[in-house]
Symmetry: C2
Subunit: 490 residues, 2 copies
């Protein structure tokens, strides 16, 4: 049975999230951190029934889902630990001189209730109880989550786990609200609602841009953090290729087809210089792609879009099929590799479009200069990878500089799939990879998206937030009178 | 003679700013800081001829302009010193384990060329060489500045000083470009240009919102930091009022009429509870406003808008004139104070509109509950001020909580005019005070607006930016393997 929620119910739920926000503003960073760990415990405690349901809804393998669940728990815990340090409070104190120069103190507080939209390809880590929800609560913001139509039962189990965590901690249910029903109209009402102060989204360019546009057209525009994927170019440089044809072909095809190619960091483009190593490398690539089994994709809509995008790519001028994976059924995603030339790539924007699934395009380039032009022609990317030796890079430093202008993460060797949850991770990039290149959606720094600073001028200590009181009760690092001060220095 | 720039010239100038940006990416934070000090020296060296011209163009008094020039120099110097510490690089290093866990390192780099629009009311501090330009260059971004039509000669002198600073340091002129001609079309072309990656603006709500909308409609949307003023409510609580009627009336009227009321932090609304102190306070306010001399405003357009807004306010139902300042001429801004009731204020949004100039509205409220409703009804503000004793606040803590949701800076006593250039300053606030409440346009933290993070995965030390190299050559604070690490700890 499918129950569509009414407009009045939506409005009541969203209005209610304001009290959840206010509650979070009144507990300390330490308490917020404990709350997040309590929610992590409840997610961790979910049994394999969750994995079975998620597997049924997403077709993702159980082992992968088990890993993703652990990652999700780790996100809550690592963000909780980061929040407790006070790093995101960015407390600054200028004590003034007791006369003309005022006592001014600033810290970051939660921006307000946040709307979160989950991604189909990560039913745990980028959905209901995923990184966006964890980082919004870490910032002191309540969350209103819109159920994901691809995995509603999984979404609900996760929402219930969050609810149990809130209850155990003693927090009101309004800290996390759940909008049932998969329609676009519900999502749009959510983004338009005046109580909502920010939006987090992971999914397609079309859907992400549409939410961005709605938010920008509001009377009060609000920030939208939409992570919309990318083609994640890999540049293969000559010295490296010469010595690593077999290993590189295997690594590339493995990354390209991992999880049926359904990762936003999937390396869809492979650039290589035409030289004596190329023929051998192409042979290795063909051999590697031919060993890839077909597999069910997340849902039929994604498979339809994948086949359509692949077919469109195959019909472009100058594009040839290099090799295809195995086919065992008619309702699966089949891997494929195409090839083209640098000239054709520079002339036809369609060749740079994302094919969401296990299809890649090898681009054979004439010169380093052409590679440079190609980097300049690229749209914003989550990642750019160099398969190169240090000597290769030394002779192509301009390429490295240009690549930095186009992406959020730049790799020397390895493949871009596998996004670690660490402080140093930047999962984001210039548009259209995301709608705001200045933030990450993975790693504790994801919390920064949902904060805004407030300054207190000449307030008596008793009214200041804990972050700014004279005695520094939270023992956090602050900047006091232009100097970084650890608690012990003050 | 007025030379309008051609579209081709605009395009060439903006494209050129990319090489200025790339230059700044290749010098170290220390060098960038020296460059900023060199520019500060050149601004400081400008003689009183600058003040005379600015006075002629803006009608601002020479003493005020002298102070503003010193403030502008101080902005460059304090932002330069902050940049050198590495605080805005936010370097994070996760060293990995040499196997499955990668070595990932992240720092913030300049987002790209920035378009800056100056404000008429601060021809130095918020214009050509003002805080937006200083903070963009501090972030490693080149600047394309659009000449301000209110003070073109002042703008040009300042641009020349920046140019001399760049030349002395040895930086290319493309670090700072200047678009001559005052038309809106030039500004719009600038914001639409694909090379531009962020916009900073100080001015009216209409103009700021229009730039925001243009930027949001781009194929690649870019952030717009528009500071668009506010009405800066002052809440007077009973115990404080009882003991401070004369002093508060004088302080309020002085702040309201300072600089002919042409500050974005001008306190346009004054809320007070109806009690036995009110009659005396109104008498003091009337007496104070009647001693205020009229004065020339920035330019005729601002005076026309001021008179129109004042007249509109005076004609609203339930609004009465409380007192007016002196009149000595027909082309001046004349101070005025009106009064109304809390009920009328809550029923009529027009009473909360900004009147840019020396006019205030006293709102007489029935109860603390009504004050609470009024705070909730307010749009976003740069500042909210409480004229209160500690006892007043203790009995009105809900008011303090609600006020924090509505503004960027909250004051206990004093008046909001006078925005100090310190780390702890938040000059910003929820819309419509600004288009992005998460950032400040005053204080070193203004630099944060123009940065975006880039992660480096598994790169050999020789290719890493200085901020991320093993030996920490810049001796900046970083987070290494989840711990804050000062240079000396690593």
């Amino acid at each position: 049975m499918f129950i569509e929620i009414s407009d009045e119910q939506i409005d009541a739920i969203i209005n209610g999230s304001l009290s959840g926000y206010r509650y979070l503003q009144h507990i300390s960073l330490k308490e917020r951190s404990v709350l997040m760990h309590t929610i992590a415990d409840e997610i961790e405690a979910l049994d394999d029934g969750l994995l079975e349901i998620a597997h049924t809804e997403s077709a993702l393998p159980l082992a992968r889902l088990r890993g993703e669940k652990a990652r999700t728990v780790n996100q809550w815990r690592s963000y909780a630990d980061a929040v407790k340090t006070g790093i995101y409070a960015e407390a600054r104190i200028d004590k003034g001189d007791g006369a003309a120069k005022a006592d001014i103190r600033k810290y970051n507080k939660g921006i307000g209730p946040v709307a979160v939209f989950g991604a189909s390809n990560f039913p745990f880590a980028f959905s209901t109880a995923g990184g966006d929800t964890a980082s919004a609560i870490g910032a002191g913001c309540s969350v209103v989550f819109k159920e994901h139509p691809g995995h509603p039962q999984t979404s609900q189990l996760m929402a219930q786990a969050i609810g149990r965590g809130l209850e155990k901690f003693g927090a009101p249910a309004s800290v996390f609200s759940y909008l049932q029903g998969g329609s676009h109209a519900i999502g749009q009402s959510l983004v338009r609602h005046p109580v909502i102060k920010a939006v987090a989204f992971t999914g397609s360019l079309g859907a992400g841009r549409s939410l961005f546009d709605i938010a920008a057209l509001r009377e009060e525009p609000i920030p939208v953090f939409a992570e919309m994927g990318s083609v994640n170019p890999v540049f293969v440089l000559p010295q490296y290729l010469k010595a690593n044809q077999t290993a590189l072909a295997a690594a590339y095809v493995q990354s390209l087809t991992l999880g049926v190619g359904q990762f936003c960091t999937n390396p869809g483009l492979l650039f290589v210089l035409k030289d004596e190593s190329l023929a051998g490398f192409k042979k290795e690539l063909r051999a590697a792609i031919q060993t890839v089994d077909d597999a069910k994709m997340l849902h039929w809509g994604i498979m339809r879009d994948y086949n359509s995008a692949k077919s469109k790519l195959s019909m472009q001028g100058g594009v040839e099929l290099l090799g295809e994976g195995r086919v065992s059924a008619t309702d699966t995603g089949v891997a494929a590799l195409y090839s083209t030339t640098g000239t054709a790539f520079l002339e036809n924007k369609a060749l740079a479009a994302e094919v969401f699934g296990p299809t890649g395009l090898l681009v054979e380039c004439d010169s380093s200069a052409e590679l440079g032009k190609i980097v300049e022609s690229l749209e914003g990317q989550l990642t750019i990878t160099f398969a190169a030796t240090t000597e290769d890079i030394r002779t192509n430093t301009a390429l490295l500089d240009k690549a930095q202008e186009k992406c959020g993460r730049i790799l020397f060797g390895g493949m871009p799939t596998g996004v670690e949850v660490v402080y140093a991770m930047q999962h984001g990039g210039p548009y259209p990879a995301t709608t705001d290149s200045r933030f990450t959606s993975v790693g504790p720094d994801a919390v920064k998206r949902f904060l805004r600073p407030v300054s207190f001028q000449n307030w008596p200590d008793e009214f200041l937030p804990l972050e700014l009181k004279d005695e520094n009760p939270l023992q956090i690092e602050r900047i006091v009178d232009n100097r970084r001060a650890l608690a012990s220095d003050e």
